[in-house]
């Protein structure tokens, strides 16, 4: 990561895909949207900074749309 700004098209595709699922590994997102994993990682980095996507740690790390997955006690 850290190669420069993320591709806006990839960011859009990531958001669209995450709207269809509860949560996903970033590699699964890359496969599903047909983009390079590293480009998806860059997009996710920016989307989390923009508060649109968040990370979840449930035995391994997933990504999801912000607020889509509820915490255990909510």
């Amino acid at each position: 990561m850290g190669r420069g700004p993320a591709n806006p098209e990839v960011k859009k595709k990531v958001l669209e895909y995450l709207a269809k699922v509860e949560k996903a590994k970033s590699r699964d997102v890359a496969v599903a949207i047909g983009e390079k994993k590293s480009d998806v990682d860059d997009a996710v980095k920016e989307l989390t900074a923009e508060d649109l996507v968040e990370y979840l740690y449930i035995t391994t790390t997933y990504i999801c749309l912000k607020g889509k997955v509820k915490t255990p006690n909510s």
Binding site: M1, G2, K25, S26, R27, K37, D41, V44, K45, T48, A49, D51, E54, Y55, L56, Y57, I58, T59, T60, T61, V69, K70, T71, P72, N73
Partner: protein, 407 residues
């Protein structure tokens, strides 16, 4: 808060050793969450089961790690620990703090958290135990203002860790403190934004005594070594002999490769350098008489981990010697690590650590695809190692088939 009885926990306050129960009770005087934590733990001891749930939100804005969600399974019964998240703070290299720094860490934690800490977690972070979701961002902001950063959690580079190195140890073969600091700064994205199949750890030990436990606990172990021969001070050897130190029995006989010879008449040691595995045993036993060689650096080992998908693994040597002094040396290391991570990210299954992937697909494939030259040190027993296969190209070039016939 009404004090409730904890007879089982009280048993753990007996004896001379400092008790974690005593510390928790002290924290409970001013912290209701610490008090309820005692109640939950006592109940777990009675019922023989845990009452904690794990998961969910893991960080602050832009971060994917550093906070581990913890929730009690009966929030109505224990409202003060309904959310009891763990915060990891990236520790300084070698755990060197001044007292002001420690006070700053504790002052912020007293303001927001349970007052309980764990110094340090298994990856080395300052562990702060127990805070509410609403306080995570303010906690991060205040620590950030004070010059601290979060550590790693989740499927990312976990907080890198090193031994005290040349800061306090004569055995360090490279500057572990500088290496850890330099490489942590380089891989900030990998530390804070989990992107991999699972966690990855780097630990820096200055010598084969391996005070960070790198060989057993890190995916990428950087262990100090030397390329030339150990050095003797024969006058000091004679001093050990004069004090009736059993040089033959305690040093030479316990050398794993029997590369050391002691001449009891001359009271001198000699070594067959090419047989020495740099294990540090002789240096540990006779530090005044035996020193590491002059050409120092590190061995890079890959694949150590504790048990989850597969059993616990020890790391395997992939680069027997790499200089770790100049920025160019660190660049070589970083380039190697990036190739390895890319390969793992491309090929690893979810929750599969690097060592488990190598175990599944073979060391030969790992070395070829990461463009790491195979070296004799990677071969445990020639022709008996299941990880080493001749490639068809190599056979064609040799002109000889495996059965010895001409191709």
């Amino acid at each position: 808060m009404t004090e409730k009885k904890t007879p089982l926990l009280d048993e753990l306050e007996k004896g001379k050793w400092p008790s974690f129960v005593t510390e928790m009770k002290r924290a409970a005087v001013k912290s209701e969450s610490a008090g309820e934590l005692l109640q939950v733990l006592e109940r777990s001891y009675v019922e023989h089961r845990g009452h904690w749930k794990h998961g969910g939100i893991v960080g602050v804005r832009g971060y994917g790690g550093g906070v581990i969600g913890r929730y009690v399974d009966e929030p109505e019964t224990y409202p003060n620990v309904a959310e009891f998240h763990t915060v990891r703070i990236n520790q300084p290299s070698g755990f060197f703090y001044n007292t002001k720094t420690l006070r700053t860490i504790c002052d912020i934690w007293e303001k927001y958290g349970s007052r309980l800490t764990n110094m340090h977690g298994s990856t080395g972070d300052v562990i702060l135990l127990g805070c509410k979701t609403e306080d995570i961002q303010p906690i991060f902001d205040e620590y950030s203002e004070a010059g601290f950063d979060l550590g790693g959690s989740g499927s990312c580079l976990r907080t890198t860790n090193c031994c005290v190195g040349p800061g306090r140890c004569e055995f360090a073969c490279y500057d572990t403190l500088e290496a850890c600091y330099n490489i942590t700064n380089e891989f900030m994205d990998e530390l804070h934004r989990p992107m991999w199949p699972y966690k990855s750890k780097i630990k820096f030990s200055g010598c084969a005594n391996d005070c960070t436990g790198a060989i057993a606990r890190s995916d990428i172990s950087v262990i100090g070594t030397w390329r030339d021969s150990i050095q003797f001070d024969q006058a000091a050897v004679k001093e050990y002999a004069a004090k009736n130190f059993d040089i033959q029995g305690l040093v030479c006989d316990k050398c794993p490769t029997k590369c050391l010879t002691y001449n009891s008449q001359a009271q001198e040691l000699s070594v067959v350098a090419e047989d020495c595995t740099r294990c540090m045993h002789c240096i540990n036993m006779m530090p005044k008489a035996i020193k590491a060689g002059k050409e120092k650096g590190a061995s890079i080992l890959i694949g150590g981990k504790s048990t989850i998908v597969q059993s616990a693994f020890m790391s395997s040597v992939v680069v027997p010697f790499m200089k770790m002094e100049a920025e160019s040396d660190f660049e070589e290391f970083k380039d190697l690590v990036r190739r390895i991570w890319d390969w793992w990210d491309e090929n690893g299954k979810s929750r599969e650590r690097l060592g488990e992937l190598i175990y599944r697909v073979g060391m030969g494939k790992f070395l070829r695809e990461c463009e790491i030259p195979a070296v004799p040190q990677q071969v445990f027993r020639p022709r008996a190692n299941p990880y080493v296969f001749w490639q068809q190209d190599d056979l064609d070039k040799s002109g000889t088939a495996l059965d010895g016939s001409k191709l």
